[in-house]
Symmetry: C2
Subunit: 205 residues, 2 copies
């Protein structure tokens, strides 16, 4: 699930380099010395770090299929929601599934607040980006792909159709969209990874 | 220090609307319903929220004095460092000054780590943006302006020339740059505000 990628400007083709975060490579430490984290994009020997910064770089470098809209106000909205996914949604959702007891209950309440906001933002839109997938949809990949699988594996229900109908419709649209399906991490690998994590978390110590 | 601004596209002129965060206005709740926080930029009846999103909007809407460079890689670097200021520097610096005891010591250690990184990033550059002020410099305004004054008022030394010579040179360059000086919040008002906050924090309860 980790990547340090070498992008070759033909299409856009790229080489995916997996990274073992429990034993970080020299490549990762060299190219992301500040955060020492993935993802990192390598292009022409230069490194670009931070997910949203990488997406904007791709958008500005290869102009075949724009990720951000042209209009400055629409761009601002896309950036606002992408930042909201990163800053406000990731941690409470993660903790809703992967913690227990009081911490989990608190995380579920926080997750509920932000999921309500996302559900309401979608209103009659197919994607956060409108009719097509944009920056905020890509930033929300962890909701559409990761957490809907996490939920299946560990049996904690946070994302439900009853509570968040628009968001669940968005998940269906997102994961079944060709461009996304072709680039998603295989579901069986994620299931195996989450099952291993669950076993490690619940194994007697 | 709060603002909800109405921008008039002449120059760029704007109206500054102060906001009392202890009694939030209908205007703020209407235009930033998600975070209910400042800053908010109003333009043509539309609202743009989140500091860095606002700066990019200004850059894309009024093209007179570019804030971001043209080259995609340089733009990525500017965005990376601006995000670093927001995500990694603001909270530890704030807590270095405004907490006490163990919490303060921990915050000072964290602040020291990020300030070292900033000092090293500046190397032989005048600004984070190179020869001119850019996105990351504006994002670091709280270091150049706010925290150097906080330090004076409350007498806790975190930013010192001995430890961070390049960063302190940057502070001098930044606060004495015409375009910044003309737009800084007046020092005496900040001093008064910080003194009041200090008195409230140290008053017997």
């Amino acid at each position: 699930m980790a990547k340090v990628a070498e992008v070759i400007p033909q299409g856009v083709q790229y080489e995916f380099i997996a990274e073992d975060l429990s034993n970080k490579s020299h490549l990762l430490l060299k190219y992301n010395p500040v955060h020492k984290m993935i993802p990192v994009l390598l292009h022409n020997g230069k490194s670009i770090c931070e997910s949203l910064v990488i997406i904007e770089y791709i958008d500005e470098t290869w102009k075949g299929a724009p990720i951000l809209p042209k209009d400055p106000y629409e761009r601002a909205k896309a950036r606002f929601w992408a930042k909201f996914m990163d800053d406000k949604c990731l941690l409470p959702l993660c903790n809703s599934y992967w913690t227990q007891g009081e911490e989990q209950e608190k995380a579920k309440e926080e997750a509920s607040e932000v999921l309500k906001i996302l559900d309401s933002e979608l209103k009659d839109k197919k994607f956060f980006g409108g009719d097509t997938i944009g920056l905020a949809d890509i930033a929300a990949n962890f909701i559409g792909h990761w957490f809907s699988i996490t939920q299946e594996v560990i049996g904690v229900e946070v994302l439900t159709k009853e509570k968040y109908p628009k968001l669940c419709e968005w998940i269906d649209e997102f994961v079944n969209c060709n461009i996304i399906m072709e680039n998603l991490h295989p579901k069986d690998e994620l299931v195996a990874s989450f099952q291993a994590r669950l076993q490690a978390a619940t194994a007697p110590k």
